[in-house]
């Protein structure tokens, strides 16, 4: 284990890298402060990108995802 402070985050995963960047673009446009991170192993083994944001941003995130093909949204402490 590395020494890093954990926190509960809202995590969104995608089927493609392109969809992750569709998310980044949309999120930036509405002023969200989250960012793309490597997919945490608790969600999916392998590789890929996920959107990490504050857990109270659920509504804004769902609005962002209206026209984006995403895999799932989960709350995760990482």
């Amino acid at each position: 284990m590395i020494k890093r402070k954990k926190k509960e985050w809202l995590i969104v995963t995608f089927h493609t890298t392109a969809a992750a960047f569709q998310m980044e673009n949309t999120a930036k446009n509405i002023g969200l402060t989250g960012r793309l991170i490597p997919v945490p192993r608790e969600i999916s083994a392998g590789c890929g990108l996920a959107w990490r944001d504050e857990k109270d941003k659920q509504e804004e995130i769902k609005k962002c995802l209206e026209n984006i093909e995403y895999e799932k949204i989960v709350l995760l402490t990482i």
Partner: protein, 374 residues
């Protein structure tokens, strides 16, 4: 030097394209393979290119898939959609990048013929239909004659008969306006380094909704590493391995510029040069010109022959004696040469761009006149 080989690749590349490629080499990592800033920058460029391409062709950005060139895009579309028991309607003006993948499928093929001016007889589409017809595959602009096919009309036909419509836009992307939705195009295959003004090694295919292409290449996708199959979702579905993000940075810059500038003024400039060339040549003795150059829509390509002289000899003389770059031979389109009876002679192809000048065209005409007089 006078460069009249723009149908092979556009030259010179705009300075903003060169700068975008250099900037990318200075600043980016690999697309979609991590979450640090270097890799994110690469993915942002790739994503932005999808958006700009989608805007240019009225396509869905998430279904813009990048390949190395139009040939790879056409192979992907044809081999991923057509089976041996299908029937496909295509034409004699097609390039080998359409013909060879089609032959490889083993499908039953109907070739629409051309008229004496080289125009594909699209009015024969209806009579070519069979119970198992699956697709119509045509090049928008012939790389030999520059003739343009009315793809909106063909798209309407495909819609009425529930056929896939695959368009080879190698010569038309960045020159003629293409609207995938309005023209009912199922798959639009393009290259980045001709009319789109980008660098070689870029191209792609835009795929319409409900068109499920079986991938030609599978492998690294940046997602779902433990799955034994490549992801089904577009655009990753048709993209395996690291993309040419440096090249795409250049393509992004040029397509953005084309979107802002519009295609009409560029097209009018190159068309007027092709017409000037044609009008000066058409009355000269011994000159044979192929194609419908004065048609309302025509790509800036004029192919000619001088009497029975080998096209390669003429092209070489133009280069060696006058510094004029043209393309000789069969231009990878064997069936159109059979139709024109030029299999042995070939043709000398002059392909203009908006970057050429009237002065260059006039010098070229004078060179040809000199060759004929000799």
């Amino acid at each position: 030097m006078i460069y009249l080989d723009n149908a092979a690749t556009s030259f010179p590349k705009p300075s903003f394209v060169k700068q975008a490629v250099i900037d990318a080499m200075d600043n980016i990592g690999s697309d979609g393979r991590g979450a640090h800033e270097m890799t994110l920058r690469a993915s942002r460029i790739v994503y932005s290119t999808r958006q700009n391409i989608a805007k240019l062709f009225n396509a869905d950005a998430m279904r813009v898939c990048f390949t190395l060139n139009a040939t790879m895009a056409l192979n992907t579309a044809i081999l991923g959609l057509i089976n041996a028991n299908d029937h496909v309607i295509t034409s004699v003006q097609e390039h080998n990048s359409v013909l060879r993948p089609l032959y490889k499928t083993g499908a039953d093929l109907t070739f629409l013929p051309i008229d004496e001016k080289g125009n594909v007889k699209i009015d024969m589409l209806g009579g070519s239909l069979k119970a198992n017809t699956k697709a119509v595959i045509l090049s928008h602009v012939s790389n030999v004659t520059g003739n343009v096919i009315d793809i909106k009309k063909v798209g309407q036909f495909c819609k009425e008969h529930n056929l896939y419509f695959i368009v080879d836009a190698a010569q038309s992307a960045g020159v003629f306006d293409i609207d995938m939705k309005e023209m009912n195009i199922s798959v639009l295959c393009f290259t980045g380094h001709k009319g789109l003004l980008g660098v070689q090694g870029t191209g792609g295919l835009c795929v319409a909704e409900n068109v499920d292409i079986n991938p030609l290449v599978v492998g690294g996708s940046g997602v779902h590493s433990f799955s034994k199959t490549h992801p089904d979702e577009y655009p990753t579905r048709l993209e395996a391995g690291t993309l040419n993000a440096h090249g795409l940075a250049g393509l992004n810059a040029s397509v953005k510029w084309l979107n802002e500038n519009g295609l009409a003024s560029l097209r009018e400039k190159e068309t007027s040069l092709a017409r000037l060339f044609y009008n000066e040549l058409c009355n000269l003795p011994q000159i044979k010109i192929y194609g419908d150059v004065l048609a309302e829509n025509h790509g800036a390509i004029v192919s000619i022959n001088i009497a029975d002289e080998d096209a390669g000899i003429v092209s070489d003389a133009l280069y060696e004696d006058f510094g004029i770059c043209t393309r000789a031979g069969a231009h990878c389109a064997p069936l159109i040469h059979k139709a024109f009876g030029t299999e042995n002679q070939g043709m000398v192809r002059f392909s203009f761009s908006h970057q050429n000048t009237e002065r260059e065209v006039i010098k070229t005409i004078q060179a040809i006149k000199q060759l004929v007089a000799e």
